[in-house]
Every structure is written in C-alpha cells, then in structure tokens.
Symmetry: none
Subunit: 304 residues, 5 copies
C-alpha cells in the first residue's frame, strides 16, 4: 500500500526528526485497518502493572496469555500494541513484524502508597532487540515526582529518537494544584498535552477531557477568549490546538470499561474534533475476542 497524502502531511510535521524515526512513524500510520487515514487505534496493556492481573484479566481469562494480546492486536487490525517489557518479550518472536510495537518504559502499581511516581522497567536496548517502533513513557505533571519523571523522559526520549524510535508520552496530570476532578479538566488536559509536545513527544496520549476548568488562574482566560468546551469535539479541538495547532499525533484514552455506545459516542467526538485516535485497553481485552474485535472494528470504521 502506497503512503497517502494524509500520512505524508503528518510526517512533514516532524521535520526535525531523522528519516529513521519518520520511517517508524510511517510503519504505525500505514498499518492495519486505519492504514493511511492519519488516524490510529492503539491497544495498550499495562493495566496488569497498574491494577494487578485479576482486576485486568479475570473478566476474560484468555487475556492472561501474552500471545492472546498479540493475536487480538493483529486480528483486530489496530495500528499498534503497547505493553511493558515482559509482555512484549513473550510473542515478539512468534509475531515478529506483524504489528507495530511500543515498549512501555515505566509503570506504576496499586500496591505503592505513593502514586505520584512510576518505576522504569525497560531499556531502549530492549525496545531495539524486540523490533519496536517506539517507546512509551508516562509523566504525571503536577505530582511530587513530575520533574524527576520529565527528566527520565528526557533521557529515554533522547536515546530512543537517536535510534529512530518514536517517543510516545502518556501525559497524566495529578497532584500539585490539581483537584481530583481536575485530572480530566479541559485546561489541565490541554496543558499536559502541550508539555508533552514541548518535551519532543512524537505521539501524545491524554485522557478525554471533561467540561471543567480546574486552575483558578486559567478560568479567566477560558472565559474571556470564549474557548468552546460544550461538546467532546469542542474539547478535543482545543487539546489538538494545544498540541502545536494539531501538528502532533494525539490519541485519547477512555479509561475504565464502559458500554459500547458510550465508547462509540466518545470516538465520534474525537474524530469530529480532529483527534488522531484512541487508545483502547480494558474496553477491548476484557471482552471476549469476538466482541473485542467487533467493537474495535466499529471504532475504526468511525475513524476511517
């Protein structure tokens, strides 16, 4: 399949990067059901680390097996599969080259009293060894460890990009001046996306924002400038604007498992607002494979 104009245009936004990195970005954008559309749906599986195995996989025990997750990603035709070292290792050989891989480089867990940091769990060498197109990294803007995490991101991103790997940043605000509800507030999400862009993220992952402005200091600006925020599309449009006027690839996560219709409604809003796509974990691997593939196809059909 020949690269489309849409993909060509997206690649042109990454003008400072090497052809190697663009080649890997192209692999992601030209893969699966959404190949060539400029939209992506990514399957992320790091919930086992975050919430524990039973809470993640008991609803669909087939998903305990790492090969199942590769198969789900490949059969559904998603754009990429993101997971920590161990999950990628078990399948990287059997499914070599069948789906673009993103190695999640840090992970938090629910046992720790401290939820404002994560542990580094993989290396760029590992990502190279397993044939990944990129590395993924979470930062918690606002948290006590935000600056440390950003500095870790700086190191890893620099090393990864020097080898042609994408830097995918999960930018999840929490702590600091942010209220609990504020973690998905529009101003906070837009701010978090912008910081990821400023740190050189190739792909930015944020939560779908709510219609709330959290920081007092920001409220006046949002009001005065009449920034629309009523609909999902409005809010996605604003986040895209904050991501270099839409010139970075931004994907949105839906979070906890929800009904099919709620999810599709969100996807329509993301598409309408110009977002690049979704990252769908629990809503896919906690369903049976048949249901998951059906749902992912519906999602991708909306984006296509």
């Amino acid at each position: 399949m020949i690269r489309t104009e849409t993909v060509r245009k997206i690649l042109s936004w990454y003008e400072g990067e090497t052809p190697g990195l663009k080649s890997n970005l192209s692999r992601l954008l030209m893969h699966g059901r959404l190949a060539g559309t400029g939209r992506v749906v990514i399957l992320p599986v790091d919930q086992g680390f975050e919430h524990g195995p039973a809470r993640s996989f008991a609803p669909n025990p087939a998903a305990y097996d790492p090969h199942y997750l590769y198969e789900l990603a490949i059969e559904a035709g998603v754009s990429g599969y993101a997971a920590p070292l161990g999950l990628l290792e078990h399948g990287a050989d059997a499914f070599a080259g069948e789906v673009p891989l993103i190695m999640k480089m840090n992970s938090g867990n629910s046992l720790a009293a401290n939820s404002s940091d994560q542990a580094l769990t993989g290396t760029v060498d590992d990502a190279m060894r397993l044939g990944c197109v990129g590395v993924g990294f979470t930062i918690y803007p606002g948290s006590d460890h935000a600056y440390d995490m950003m500095e870790e991101l700086r190191e890893i991103s620099h090393e990864a990009k020097s080898k042609g790997l994408l830097s995918v940043v999960w930018s999840y605000p929490r702590g600091g001046k942010i209220s609990k509800e504020g973690e998905t507030a529009l101003d906070i999400v837009a701010y978090s996306a912008h910081m990821a862009a400023l740190m050189g993220a190739t792909i930015i992952k944020v939560k779908l924002p709510s219609n709330r402005i959290d920081l007092d200091a920001a409220k006046k600006t949002y009001e005065k400038n009449h920034i629309p925020s009523e609909t999902i599309a409005d809010r996605v449009r604003h986040v895209m604007q904050a991501s270099f006027a839409g010139k970075r690839v931004v994907v949105f996560s839906g979070g906890e498992a929800k009904t099919r219709e709620d999810l599709l409604e969100e996807v329509r809003g993301i598409r309408e607002g110009g977002g690049n796509g979704s990252i769908i974990g629990r809503n896919s691997f906690q369903r049976s494979k048949e249901d998951a593939i059906a749902l992912l196809r519906e999602v991708m059909d909306i984006y296509a």
Copy 2:
C-alpha cells in the same frame, strides 16, 4: 541426558531471549533429581544476611561452612543453589560445574531500622566469573523503595540477560497499601508474580499464598469472577495464571522451618496447582545433612 519435550516446551516460552540464556535455563532444568521434569527445587542461602548467622546456622553448625552448603545442594540433587557473593565464592572453584549457581545480587538485614530496601552486594561480572547460570534479585512491591528496587532490577536484569544469564526475581510485597497479613494474600502474591513477569523475570519466586484477599479494590473482582481460592492448589493455579498463563517458571517458598508433613502438604498443593517447584532454605540446611537430604528427596519425589 537428552532434553525432554517438557523442557523444550518451557524453553519455547522464552522466545525473545538469546540461545545463551536458554542454554543456561536448560542447564537448570536438566540438572539433578528433577532433570527434565519441568519442576525445580532450589536451595537458597541468604538467611545469614537476613537474620544473622546464629539464627540461621546454630541449629546445624555444619552449615556455617560454605562448602557444606555446596555439598548439600550437590548430594541432594537439587536443581540449583542461590546465595550471595561471598558464599558462592567459597566453593565455586572446588565444586565448579557441579550444580547450577544463582548469585543473589541484593540482600537486606535485620539490623536495619528500614526494612523496605536491600543493598546491592554483587555484580554481573562476579556472576560470570563464578560461572553462575543466573542472578537473583529481590523487589518489595508496595514498599517505599519499591520503585528504586525495580529500577535496580531493570539495570541488573538487562546486563545479566545480555550475557545469557537468567534473571530470577524474588517478588516479596510489603508496605504501602498492604497489611501485614496481606503480604501472603492471594491477590497480593498474584500481583507480585505478575509484576515480576512484566519486568522480564526468567524465573519468579513468591511466597505460598494464603486464602485472603487484601486490597479492597480487588475483592469485588475475586468475588464476581468466582476465582477459586479454597485449596493450596487453587491458589497456586491462580498465581500461575497471573504469570503469563503459566508460561513463566514460578517457584514457591515455604518460609520458616516447619514440620515435615506440613511442608510435604504444601508441595503436593504446588504440584497439583501447576507450580514449577519450591525454594527450600531453612527447612533443609537447619536439619542434619542426612535429614535434609531425606526431606529434599521426599519433596522431589512428589514433584517428579
């Protein structure tokens, strides 16, 4: 002795690893009484560090001598012997090649007020110099130092695996949101095993879980999905499931010295639940050599 189909199958699960690492894993799985069965019994001796020499060796003073520990491992025909640098050094030459060695790379001690961390005490170079098949590392998921320990593991595991050495992870939850009884709760042990797998552990070591669910957030999941936990076998089966659907080698520790019958009962449960074996320290080296070998043989006869 020619590699069995069982061992061949286990090696196939480590598909992302080098032939060098698989060769070392094969050495462990093809050694001693349990060679070829896919089960392992490992003799660990780091209690001198953890509890002090008298509490560890006074019940059987012959065990103060490092050569005795090598002899015990060799004569009993266990699959491997795991100990810190100093213990391995004294015997590595005299018994070169007679039993697979695992160098324990970090250790805590009972003098420290802080029991949420351990000190690094060996290097991968040391492990190579002494002819080890792998390195061992303890993490305390949940503790204040959990993320630091995980990052140390990441460094050591990456270096070890790049040289063909196994990464054996002691995943011992404590602190954070975990209650004291929760350290052996089923949800916590399964979670700890899963995190070790995600970090690329070749072999996972956890405590035998009790019939308790500790995290509130997990209770609903365990109830709703009817995860069986009545018998030892039920619980071992769940831990294996959390370890990549049983595709990682997992061994269980019994902890403090106990009666022969209690120990054998546990072993029967581990076998029935599909666990790969036991790591038996104080229950072996605190008995006379004759009694220890007799007991280890009984254990291995159950697994065989």
Copy 3:
C-alpha cells in the same frame, strides 16, 4: 496484510537472531508485489560507484536524480532498495517508510588500479538514522584482500545485527586460485554463498552460476557425486543447497544489461531451482521508468 506461512517458515530459519532482526526481515519479505511469497526482487544502485555515473545513468538520464530511483523502487513494488550512503540520504526523508532500505556499506571503483578491495563508505549509525532494514557488504573471496574484507564484514555485521538490522552479503569471488571465467563457475559460486552463510549473512547475494567447475580440487567431487549442473535450475538448486540446505535467503544478480527474454529466462530458472529472487540494477534503471516497471512486473509475476 497478515504474514504468510511461507514467511513464517523463512523467519524460523533465523532462530539465533533477535525479534528485532526478524521484524526487519519480515518487513522486507512482506513488502511490495512479492509480499508474502518468500521471494524478493531488490533494486541495487551502486553502479555509479563501480562504473561511474555516465556508464550507469546516461542511457536513462532521469536516473541521475536520486529521487527517481526511490520512485522506481516504490512504483515498481520491489521488495527493497539498496544503495550507498549518499543515494539513500537524498530521498530517505521524502520517501520515509515507503520501501525497505539496505545501505551498501562498501564500494569499489573503476579508477583504482587495485580491484581486489573496496572502501567502507557508510556506518551502521547512518543506516539507523535513515531507517534502513539492513546493511549490505561486498566480499571478494579469493582476492588478496579477502581476509581483510571478511574481518570488516565481521565488525559491521556484528554491530548491525545487535541493532536488529539485516546483514546482506554480496559474495563475489575473484583473484587467488580463481580463473576469470571461474568467477561465475558453479563450484566457486556455491563456495562463496556457503562462506557468506558461515559468516552469518541474513541474505546472500551471488552471481548466477555458469555450467563450469573451476577448482581442480573440486572437479572430482562434482563428478563423483553426480551433482547436476546442466540447467540454470540445477545450478541454482546446488547453490541453495550450499546455503544451509536452502535455509538462507539467496538472491541472484544477472549482471550486465541484457535482453528482456534472457533476463526472464534466468528468472524462471532461479524460481525453478528454489532461489529466493533477483537483484536487478542496470536492467531496470537504464530503461525508461515505464519499461523498467513493466519488466520488473514481469519478473515479479514469475516469482509470485
């Protein structure tokens, strides 16, 4: 496009390699017109170095422009494009991800009195920067510099493979005990392919052998063992046998420009003898783009 059984089988032959390398090999084998067939056609353009620009490009001056060569490779749907540093640099960004790239790492030229060596002209870092799937290297078994070239190959191949890049070896015998006609003799070509395999080549490139046995020491063996050599297919079959019983990917070059029918005849022989494909340079870029694409399509249709 889902990986085929044929490709899966080929990847399984590279069992000692990382998933990263297999992933790059898969990219080559799953690209273009021949995707999934286990056959490849590669466009090589290093004749400018070897013979000078006019002898290479004057017959079709459009080919002086590096972008033209990318377009030819992409539009024709060949499996990969191999060229020295400079040619790849000019186009690597514009066509990022559109065709698997192989960086030719050494090149000889027609001005040098010494035709038994080549100069290193690229680095593995360059290949990474430009997003290549592999590196190419020429050895001249038999020549005065054969051992030096092999040792350069050893260094480059080791570095490339450690980063997941393929090692493609042009094994072109000359000098030493080899007569001029012997450079394409069956025994010499088979021997050269075998040496490339022994040095760890992922893909082997040799000249299509003639029906001649050149080394006196070998003649007896060929006669005694009745090794068939009458047809192109016979000879290709023998070369494949010498390449680990056909378990390495071997492509054949046709050499100088020739008639369409001669070329297709050769291709039919290669296919029948079990060869993996062709590397076609002057016969493509010295024709007009339209003619070249038509011819390459005919070739690929035979292989498909």
Copy 4:
C-alpha cells in the same frame, strides 16, 4: 552425574583460571558418552569454509543442513561441537543446551592464493549470545602471518577467558622453515602444541604426528635424548609431555577421511599415549548418520 576424580584432577591443572572457565570446561568433560573419563571427542565442522561445501558435504548431502550437524553431535553423544558463527546460529536455539558448543573464530579458504592466514569471522559476544562453552582459534606457527595470528589469538583468548569461555587452539604449523612433510613431524607438532600451551590455551588441537624430525636443529636433541617415536603412542606421549607434562587437554585430528580400521588404530595409539581424545570431522559427517554414529561410538568405546 557427579563429577569424577579424573575430571576434578584435570580442572585442578587450570588453577589460574576463574571458576566460570572451569565450570565451562567441566560442562565439556562431563557431557556425552565420555562424560567423566577425562577423554573427549569433538565434532568440528569448518571444512565448508576450508574446502568448500561440495567437497565437504556432497558425500552425505544431509549434512548441508546445519540442524543435521547438531543432531549428529547430540545423537552420537560427542563431547562438543565446533563450528563457525553461521553454522552455530542455525540450531543454537532449537538445540539450546543439548551439546557444548565451541565457536570457531577464524577460518581460511581454498580460494585464497595465500594459505598462511585466516579471516576472523566471529566475536566473543556472538559466542556468549549463542551459549558457547568456548571459542576456537587456528594459528599457523611458521607461516608469514604466524605472529599476526598469535596476536589475534591473544586478544580473543583474553576476552573469552575474562567471560569464562575456554580457549581452544588449533595449532597447525606450516611455512617458514617447515617442509611440507614436516607439518606433521614429531618435533614440529610437539613444538606447536607447546606454543599453544604457552599462549594460555585451555584445549590444544594438533595433528597426529608422524615418525619424522623435521628441523635440523632439533634432530640432535631427539637422538641424544633417545626420545621414543616409533609408535603412535610414543609420539602422542611426547606431544603430551610438551603440553605442560600432560597437564593440558590435547586432542588430535586425523585429517582426511580414511578407513574405519585406520582411524580406530590411531585412536588406540592416542589413548595409549595419554592423549585426551580426537576431533573427528570428515570421518563422521561424510558418512551416513547411522554409519557415523556407529564409528563415533567405536571410537568413544576405546577411549572410555
């Protein structure tokens, strides 16, 4: 199987080496039919490099397939299998841990006019990656490149031993003051074995010496001191003496394919003279697998 006194004694001769190296030497000495006897039979397959594939494998075409060679080594129960990088790579995973591997690090070929050197074709990293117990290296004492080759050996041996790998030295005199017949003369072979020992070889490989003294300067000494050289055993005894009074492991090669009875006669002489064993290539892999295994068993029965 518990290490024997014989093996323990052999290991004690390598007193300056690390436990890691001794552990690898122990793996070799405790493997296969001759485990524990202090004798070894090694299968070497680098003749494809030396003489070309057809001259090596056409007599038994099954041997073109690298897996066949692994199977032959494993099924016959030889002590180890030595081959260049490419041959070891194809099978290192499938047969991981089933037979001790030695990576041959340099190789010559029959196309080169210059037969006084070899090309480096593997690295110590490769040997580690594939799980080898040691590396093999050829020197040509007497040749124009002898000093260069010795210096390469010095580098590789130092790196290999620092990682616990054995250094196996093929010491094959040629050129310089040595006549063609002198290449197997007793004084020359003893001299070559001694130089390998002086360079730190763990295992020395020489040709079986003839009853000839080649160097004029040496003749007087051999006569004056009445060094016996009539029988094979006499000559082997002298070579062992030259190898640190028999305190290095020395194996003898028989060279070209010969009759079963000639080979067994040589083996009896080696055993009687105190040699450690044989390295048997063409006499095994050029026979059918059944015949080869039968012959190797006969040889090993003599040594056992």
Copy 5:
C-alpha cells in the same frame, strides 16, 4: 622464606579469587614477625580523621609525622599498615616495599552531626599507584546509610579484587535496631562479620565482642543452642564460626587505649578462640616508639 602449610591452607580458602589477589594476601601473611603463622597484627592510623589530630597524636607528637608511622610499622615488624590516602602518600616512596600497605578508602569524622556514614577519600587507582596490597572500607550495618555504604563497598571491592587487591572490611554495627551497648554485643558482632564475609571481604575487622546478646529475635537462638559466650575465647570462637566456619581471616580491634595487661589478656583470648590477630592503633602510636615496639612484640609473641 618459604610459604608455610598454614599460609597455604589459608590461601586455599580464597578459592574463587585470582592468583594475583592470593599473591597479595600471601605478601601480608608472609611479612614481619608473624610471617608464616597465619596470624597478623596490623597498624591502622585513621584516628586523625575520626577524632582529630590532637586527640590522636598529642600524647606522642612524633606520630604527627607520617614517616614516623611507617618506621613504627617496619621496625615493629607488624604484618601491614593501614591508613588513608594522604598518610600513605607521604612515605610510600621512601619506604616502598618495606611493609604491606592497605589504603583506607572511606573515613568519618567527629565534626559531622551525622555519624552514620563516611566519606570516600581514596580510589583503587591510588592504591595501585602507591603499591598497596589491599583496600580498607568501613560499613556501619544497622545505620541509616548502611545500604549505601554496602553498595559503595560492592563497587570498590569489585574494582579492587579485579586488580588483585585485597578487600579489608571494617564492619562496625551501629544505629537501627542496635542499642549503644549492643554495638559490641556478641550476636551483633558475629552478624556484622558474617555480612562482611557474604560481601566478599578478604579480611574482616570487627570489635572484640562483649558477653551480651542485643537483638531480642536472637536471644532465643543463643539460649536454645547453648552458644558459649563466657570468655573472650568463647566469643571469638563464635565470631570465627560466623565467618565461614573460620575460613576467612578475621582481626579484632581493641578500641581505646588501655593498659598493657588488659590488651595482652584480650590477645590471649583472641589467640585461644582462633582469631587471626589484632589491629592495634592508639595502643601503639600513642606510646613512645620504644614502648610501642615493645608492646607490639609482646602481642606478636603471644600470636606466634
């Protein structure tokens, strides 16, 4: 002087170490008045760092001059002289080769509020430059910095041993669960010696233990197993047992200056209990040279 059987036996306990390290250990064990006896008396001078110069040297102002300390060590015929970088530098040339040197690598001081850590003050390179046989390092098991100090020891010990230098560990418990009196309690001292051994110490230095058990968790063990602790010899015997069944060289410090008779009484106890010797600082250099030599001779006569 030919190495004695006693020294030969001690060296054999360090089986995992290089001949280079054993050679340095032999230099220490074969030097001075106690050469060949397996006992050592070491002169340590780091009290200037610990307590300040006046408290250390005012009682005998000659000792302000570093040359004086070298002369004392040489004239008294002690086994070795241990001091920080600066002290060793001033005299290392003048007295090169006259007494085995140990460079103390870290030191605390009395000005710091924090007495649970020490500063690194020398490098292994310095120790090499000055011709030392080993390096000395203090750990404070139990203290807040215990794990950090152990990790520093790991680095320095690994580097030192890789260059053939001894690792001499001052294992001085304090802080954590240890009471002030517990710093010399029998269980604590034995535990500290054991940890030093586990970390690969060549020579272990501890304080002479009192007849006290400090850790509640340990009391039961000491009572139940009837571990004798009445006499100095009993307690030394237990510490030796905790040091790999007496297979590590352990020296005892007497601490503050005391009467001649008290000191000799302690020495008799150490000898009787199987300890390897004493480390005597203030009790020597705070006396006049004549008195100090007389006292050291008396001590050594007891050990001889």
